[in-house]
Each structure stands twice: as C-alpha cells, then as structure tokens.
C-alpha cells in the first residue's frame, strides 16, 4: 500500500529553513534591471559562499554522486541532473528533479541568447532521460526557473505536470523554461530590458532593500 503521509526532516536546520516554512505575509515587488544592479546584485554578492557550497560540491563530484542522473561536464553548456529532496523517488506523478548549470550563472537576469544552447541542452537531455528512466513523456513535464530562487546558481526545476501546485510554481515566482528560451530568441537582452514582478515574504532580506527603491 502506498503511504499518504510523507515526513521531511531537515538537519542541520538553519534560520533560512525555518523562514522558508513559516507562514508569512508576502508583498509584491516590481524589480527593474536598475534595481537589480543597484540593490539585488550587491545583496547576492554579499551572501556567504557556504550558501552554495553544496552546489559546488555536486558539480565538483565531491557530493551526492550516487544520485546524479546526468553529468554533462561541458564548461559552457554542461549541467548536473539529480532528484530534488522533495521527491520520494517512487511516485512518478510527484517526480521532482533539479538541473544545475555547470557554468556559474547567477540567475535569470544574467541570461542572454548566448545561453540558449545551455537551456536547450538541459531541456532535450532531461526530456530524453526522463522518458527512458521513468517512462514520462516530454509533454508531461513542467520545467521552470525561479525568480527569486533560494540559491543564486542557475538551476531548472523539473516536475511532472500533475504535481500539486505550490506557491513556487505560480506566475510571478516561476518562469517556464520554454518561455525563457523563446523570449531570449526574440530579444537577447529581454531579462535586462524587462521588469520582473514577484512576491517576497516579509522575512526575505531583499524585501526592505527593494521596497525602498520602488
């Protein structure tokens, strides 16, 4: 019998994890590229390197190597594909994978048409292996990118399109990989030209910085 209850234990648990699971009020922010350059980017650069150490370790083959589904070591278009901790790895309609780019792109704001080969590489190789390994067709997948993400090393979320919706998949926090590729092919600077609207929890350190700027 399949279990209907799943418990997640986070250890060691930091203040960041606690913030992530506390119910807190959200506020809408419309961030222009200038706001990104003046407030967001300095904030991202001020974050301690330890915050993405786990990513670096995976990319350098120092951690979680047993879990790796794809390791494409190309310096420009390479990426690592592995299961997200949210997936129990048994129920296919809950499938949740992460594709982390080899190249240290900070976030969606840094993407240009130069990154289309990387994005297409993530899309096609992931679609292929997910079909072969889990029997899930490409048109059953939802691939998306968060802005703002919980860590600033470019990565793509891959879920079965029947996964129950969460706030993390909502328009304004989530951008479909297909849309990103398409928009970049129309305008290489679209993520510098456009404003991005999203909702930040009151506990998010960027909120005060950006709210003052609007």
């Amino acid at each position: 019998m399949e279990s209907n209850v799943r418990m997640k234990v986070i250890y060691p648990c930091t203040i960041l994890h606690i913030r992530k699971y506390l119910k807190s009020k959200a506020f809408k922010i419309t961030e222009t590229y200038n706001m990104y350059l003046e407030k967001t980017l300095p904030f991202i650069k001020s974050l301690p390197e330890e915050r993405t150490l786990w990513v670096t370790k995976i990319l350098n083959k120092q951690a979680e190597q047993d879990d790796v589904i794809i390791l494409d070591e190309d310096e420009k278009d390479g990426f690592v594909l592995l299961p997200d901790s949210k997936w129990d790895r048994t129920n296919m309609t809950n499938m949740y994978l992460l594709a982390i780019s080899k190249c240290p792109i900070i976030c969606i704001r840094e993407l240009s048409s130069d990154h289309i080969p990387l994005l297409k590489n993530i899309k096609s190789k992931t679609e292929e292996i997910v079909k072969g390994k889990y029997g899930i067709e490409a048109d059953q997948l939802r691939m998306f990118v968060h802005y703002h993400p919980s860590y600033y090393h470019f990565h793509v979320h891959i879920v079965h399109c029947d996964v129950e919706p969460t706030k993390a998949m909502i328009a304004g926090h989530s951008h479909l990989l297909d849309d990103i590729i398409d928009l970049l092919s129309i305008d290489s600077n679209i993520f510098k030209n456009r404003a991005l609207t999203f909702y930040l929890n009151e506990s998010h350190p960027l909120l005060t910085l950006l709210k003052r700027q609007e």
Copy 2:
C-alpha cells in the same frame, strides 16, 4: 465562527462545467502565433455566442448589476469589476474579483501597446477601490490573465496574494498583469512574436487541433 467548508452548486450544469472539475491528464503545448492564426482563432470563432452571453449581459447592464464594483463605460479603456463566484465575499484572504474589458478583445494574443491604457486603467482603478472597500493594499494583490482562458473575452483575475495556489495560477496558464504591461511596453507585438507554452487537459477541444500542428 467561520465555516471551513464551502460548497459550490452549479446549476444548470453543462458538459463544460463537468470537464472543468474532472481530473484529467494534461499535455504541454507550445503554440506559435501561426498556430494561433491557423488553428486557435478559427476554433474560438466557431464557439457559439451563447458561451459569452453572460459577459455581454453584464457589460450591457442586463445582469448582475447589484454585484458590480466598478463600471467604467469608456469604449476603449473601460471595464467592469465584480466578484468572482469562487469568492464567499466575506473572507478577505480569499478575495477573488474579475475585471472584464468593455472592448471585445479575444485574448492575450490580441494585445498590443495600444491596450496599455486599458490594462493600466484596470490595474489602478482596481487597486484603488480594493484598498478603499476591502482594506487590501495594492502590493497584496495578484492580478493575472489566463491563456487559454475559459471564455474568450479579455478579463483579468484579481486575488489576494495569500489565496491558496491553484493550477489556474501556475506559470504556463497564468500571466501577471504587471508582466503583460511591461512586455508590451518593450515590444508592442510581443504576443504575436512569442510562442506561448501551456498545458491543456485531454478533454480540451484545442488539444487535438494544436497537437497535430506542433
């Protein structure tokens, strides 16, 4: 004591309502503007007028006038704001309103920079009245447009940003009003130039039409 259970009775109930609430498999479609012109638009035009008769009646002041919150009769930038049937009209964090444009714009594909005044009018007047009437600040609102919508007369959904996420708010079905205004101000033809990726249920009549075309 506030009730935790809400029952929705739909009467008379059509096959469209039943389809909407049945759990069914979804498939990803990436629709180019050519696919829109060749398949989607003829499909929309083939729909019986009765499908949007309720909208016409509201706009012509023949129905639901007691519910109307804003009636801006400007032929170009006007709209009607009223509560959505999903809202119980008491719980503010479940607030759900609809803004229906006076001008018969079919859907997001038909928008150009000419519509920015309409979109900004919907945004600013709705923000103002929601603050005055319900005490909800503008930065607590999520305004979005569906593609594909359930009826093809341009309308904007307005919810409190704390409303529980549903599939209808997910990236790929939902486009933030702020993003639409911003993208149109960068490229008046963006919704003709870009492909739109979304997920259609197997029961949606457009699925077969578009799937064959991809």
